[in-house]
């Protein structure tokens, strides 16, 4: 009992009440009663000892807090007494809450979180034209010259006009570069971890062809520069120019584009002069800081008053008359930039919202299991609770105590969940990164994440604990006492079954979603691309600054020498020139003119242009279906011949051969010499567009096909061959398959996560089915024993028990199917090649669930079938 009276106040209270009893007893003895009877009478007169003590406690300073502390101690003791239950409960809650917190923190970081800059709420982005978020450099210069519009403006871009690579040990390390104006740091209020940020002097120096100052990211400093202390002031060599490092950005600033990591920040004036002067290239994001109290509307109208002058001064002369008019007329506008801009956000907001719904369902399924466990526990504690009620404990008091137990479980679960979340959210973000684009998101354990986890824990407590607590205390004390701790009457049975049916229904929804998304991924992954990326290696060639390359002709000759060397390298089947990053990378599309005799709508004449070379189709595993491949003869007149894909041939020349025909776009015209099979060059989801392959001159990129089909196996041989042909050149290689896979990252991630959710849901639901079946069998042992004694056969008993499992599954699956019909509409935007109501998938989900629930009922059913009537009847008598 010692622990029930843990502190002095409690001891005093007990002594005080005991003293009263003694006083009463002594008086009764004095009146002539014998001591035993006097003691009895005294106790009867006193009434409920615990209830009085309880009422006294409530009168003291912080009754609520104090009794909470006591309840907590009781709860800890009870949980330690049943470690199995505590373990299962805490593990499932920490996984459930952890997964929810993880997805939330990623979603929050990507969608809601403000940039880590000074007063992000006053930060806006200037949208120069509808549907165009970037300006030309001259427009930016004009906006900057209007000092009175805002509290400061700055320019930022990562639309790399040129690619910058770091030269280390004769290899080219690509670096993610951001370009900023000199006032970027001062307008945003950025701090450097070491050294300083870029300023206007750096912008000036770079503009005048002087030294190029740069700020590097903390991550880049650690991963690429060995976290050296002497890095400030040091000069690093890039493929473009030497760069002087003047500072390291503070680690919490991850750039203006939420999600995309950066390595290097350069003054925007370090970009080639042509980019700074042209009025046709839209690549600069202009950010502004509103004046205190200035509204978006006020800033917009202020901007529009100066718009005509800016437009007139920056009008691109290349535009046709109607385009000029639009350029002068289109209104500038302003949007809040508190959360930055993000291409990642656009791609992942919906999938992540869907994943949040998925993990929430998962938590709900886990909660149902816990509720069932608590109900079962409440059953076994009926006797205890009955005794306490009989001793005068109030029902609310007991409910509170039971809820404290649930609260304790969910608090421990949530704390462990935060660890799970910290780890898994980073894992999730790392899965978003590709070979091509690295993803960085700030995932601090801040009040938002903590708040979410707390909320999840509290909700879980209520969802899990409330019903069992009320049911457990809905006991007639006498009935409970009469049972002497044997739980026979079970009101929890029906509720438990309902919960399990709900679990099955929710699992069905998750499984159906997983099935649809998984099949989408497989469809896209296995889609016939029309070419085979697996054996292909892409090679990027870069000359360091200062390497002599002579005129254009000798450069072409040098490149051809390299191509010949690669073609002769061991293990190489074929090779061809290809623009770096091609063919899965950037493309152009042009509107072509109507072929003679046809009037296609403009959208049907949107043709993709792709640069090719002799051997290009062979290398990619494409084949010429009509006509011929490019040959050496073509290479001398490359501007006039072209090869088209089947889609273009069919659309532009239906029912006839495209060979020898001419296609035009503006002043350009090509004669078709061959037709190749359709191939997907960008994204399997977008399918095949009409494509025209043209010959372009030698370029500093190659694609190489391995004879044995394994691209990595030839990498070393290719690099060696190139070094032998041209000792100056820097070589970067990549497997084309990696690039192809990068286009499916989102699909892969969504499919993986939803499958994981589906599997977890199955595990949880089968645990639920097992629990409720085992419970039923345990309860019906007596009945089963009697039935056996009366001659029921083993199969009959098995059928009897199994019927419940089958009914539960049928109800759950039907409810789940109905819910899926509604829920799957949200999945639709992510699907490819199948409908949300895909019958095969839904039937598959139903079948899997049926099998799993049957398997989960197996042990309880067998136990029922083995019931020995003699034992049972003896125990019951």
């Amino acid at each position: 009992m010692a622990s029930r009276w843990p502190n002095r106040a409690e001891r005093d209270l007990r002594d005080e009440l005991a003293a009263h009893l003694d006083g009463e007893r002594d008086r009764l003895i004095a009146q002539g009663l014998d001591p035993v009877e006097a003691e009895r009478q005294a106790r009867i007169r006193f009434g409920a000892f615990t209830a009085t003590a309880e009422a006294c406690r409530d009168e003291r300073g912080f009754p609520w807090l104090e009794s909470l502390g006591r309840d907590l101690r009781d709860a800890i003791r009870l949980l330690r007494r049943s470690p199995g239950f505590a373990f299962v409960a805490i593990v499932s809650l920490s996984l459930g809450i952890g997964a929810n917190t993880a997805v939330f923190s990623v979603f929050d970081a990507l969608v809601f979180k403000s940039l880590s800059v000074r007063e992000p709420d006053r930060l806006v982005q200037i949208i120069p034209r509808p549907n165009r978020s970037d300006s030309s450099y001259p427009v930016w210069e004009h906006i900057r010259n209007r000092h009175d519009l805002f509290d400061g403006v700055c320019a930022w871009t990562q639309e790399a006009p040129i690619e910058v690579g770091l030269i280390q040990d004769r290899t080219l390390v690509p670096v993610a570069t951001q370009w900023v104006s000199g006032d970027f740091a001062s307008v945003l209020g950025l701090h450097a971890e070491r050294g300083r940020w870029l300023d206007m002097n750096d912008e000036q120096a770079a503009a005048n062809g002087g030294a190029k100052a740069a700020v590097i990211s903390d991550a880049f400093w650690r991963t690429h520069l060995g976290a050296r202390d002497d890095v400030i002031g040091s000069v690093v060599t890039t493929n473009r120019f030497p760069v002087t490092i003047v500072g390291i950005a503070s680690p919490d600033f991850l750039g203006m584009d939420v999600g995309s990591a950066f390595d290097l920040v350069l003054p925007i004036t370090a970009a080639p002069k042509g980019f700074l002067e042209t009025r046709m290239f839209w690549w600069v994001s202009v950010f502004a800081r509103l004046k205190p109290g200035q509204t978006l509307d006020a800033a917009s109208s202020a901007l529009r008053t100066v718009q005509p002058a800016i437009r007139q001064a920056t009008l691109p002369t290349e535009l046709r008359p109607n385009q000029r008019e639009a350029y002068l007329r289109d209104p500038m506008s302003i949007v809040s930039a508190a959360t930055g801009r993000s291409s990642l956000r656009a791609r992942y907001r919906d999938p992540l919202a869907l994943m949040m719904a998925g993990v929430a369902l998962l938590l709900l399924i886990a909660c149902a299991n816990l509720t069932n466990l608590l109900l079962a526990r409440a059953e076994t504690r009926r006797h205890e609770i009955g005794v306490r009620l009989a001793l005068g404990a109030s029902r609310m008091r007991l409910v509170r105590q039971l809820l404290v137990e649930s609260l304790l479980l969910s608090t421990i679960g949530a704390s462990a969940g935060l660890l799970v979340a910290a780890w898994s959210s980073r894992l999730l973000v790392s899965q978003l990164s590709t070979d091509v684009a690295r993803v960085a998101l700030a995932l601090p354990l801040d009040w938002r994440v903590l708040g979410f986890a707390t909320l999840a824990a509290v909700l879980t407590t209520l969802v899990v604990g409330l019903v069992p607590a009320f049911r457990a205390t809905r006991v007639a004390p006498r009935a409970a006492l009469a049972e002497r701790g044997r739980a026979i009457v079970a009101a929890g049975g029906r509720l438990g079954r309902t919960l399990v049916a709900m679990q099955i229904a929710l699992s069905f929804v998750l499984l159906a979603g997983a099935g649809l998304l998984g099949r989408t991924f497989l469809t896209l992954d296995r889609a016939d691309l029309g070419f085979n990326p697996a054996p292909v290696l892409t090679v990027a060639l870069t000359w360091p600054p200062g390497a002599t390359r002579g005129d254009e002709a000798s450069e072409a000759a040098a490149l051809r020498l390299i191509l010949d060397a690669v073609r002769a390298a061991p293990g190489v089947a074929t090779a061809a020139f290809a623009d770096a990053g091609m063919p899965m990378g950037m493309q152009q599309d042009w509107f072509f003119e109507n072929p003679p005799g046809l009037s296609l709508p403009q959208s049907a004449r949107d043709v993709y242009l792709q640069d090719a070379w002799t051997g290009w189709f062979d290398t990619l595993g494409m084949h010429v279906v009509e006509g011929r491949d490019f040959d050496d003869q073509d290479q001398r007149q490359y501007k006039t011949v072209a090869i088209v894909n089947q889609t273009l041939a069919r659309r532009f020349f239906p029912g006839q051969s495209a060979l020898g025909r001419t296609v035009r776009s503006g002043p350009k015209a090509w004669t078709i010499v061959g037709v190749v099979n359709d191939a997907v060059h960008f994204d399997a989801r977008q399918g095949v567009a009409p494509t025209l392959y043209r010959l372009l001159p030698e370029t500093n990129g190659l694609i190489v096909r391995a004879a044995n089909g394994d691209a990595s196996s030839i990498s070393r041989a290719v690099v060696t061959a190139i070094a032998r042909a041209d000792p100056d050149v820097l070589v970067g290689t990549r497997r084309m398959a990696d690039q192809a896979a990068a286009t499916l990252v989102r699909e892969r991630l969504v499919a993986t996560l939803s499958s994981l959710f589906g599997i977890l849901a199955l595990v949880l639901a089968s645990a639920g089915v097992y629990g409720v079946m085992a419970y039923t069998v345990g309860r019906r042992r007596a009945e089963i024993g009697i039935r056996r004694a009366l001659g029921a056969t083993t199969p009959a008993i098995a059928r009897l028990v199994l019927r419940q499992s089958v009914v539960l599954t049928a109800i759950g699956v039907s409810a789940g199917a109905i819910a899926s019909l509604w829920a799957m509409r949200f999945v639709r935007p992510l699907l490819y090649g199948l409908e949300p109501y895909d019958a095969t998938t839904l039937a598959g989900a139903a079948l899997v669930l049926a099998l799993v629930t049957l398997a989960a009922s197996w042990t309880p059913v067998r136990r029922a079938a083995r019931v020995d009537p003699a034992t049972i009847l003896r125990a019951e008598s």
């Binding site: 003293a19 009263h20 006294c56």
Partner: protein
């Protein structure tokens, strides 16, 4: 038949019982029973919570002493605040009973 006490009256009676000398809980209930010639029986379920409440409000203070029977007991005594409260409450009670009886005697 013991009388049941209107709300709040118990507090007043406790203060009155303690006006003479400090007492412990059982003695208070005993005293009240004596003073009322057994008409009042104060249940411990309300006596002790009341004592704790009055103590928290600063009208009573408690000390642990040894009783005549050599047993540890908690003695309550009136504070200055408690004495003032007793005076006020007694006055209120008189007025109230007067008014209430006046109304009842009208019929």
């Amino acid at each position: 038949m013991p009388l049941s006490l209107p709300q709040g009256t118990l507090d007043l009676l406790i203060l009155k019982a303690l006006a003479l000398e400090p007492l412990h809980g059982w003695a208070i209930s005993d005293r009240l029973q004596q003073l009322s010639s057994d008409a009042l029986q104060v249940g411990q379920g309300s006596l002790y919570p009341s004592l704790h409440r009055l103590e928290r409000r600063g009208w009573l203070k408690a000390k642990w002493r040894t009783t005549d029977a050599n047993r540890r007991a908690k003695y309550y005594e009136l504070t200055a605040k408690g004495r003032a409260r007793l005076a006020d409450a007694t006055e209120d009670w008189r007025k109230l009973t007067q008014v209430v009886s006046g109304v009842l005697d009208l019929t």
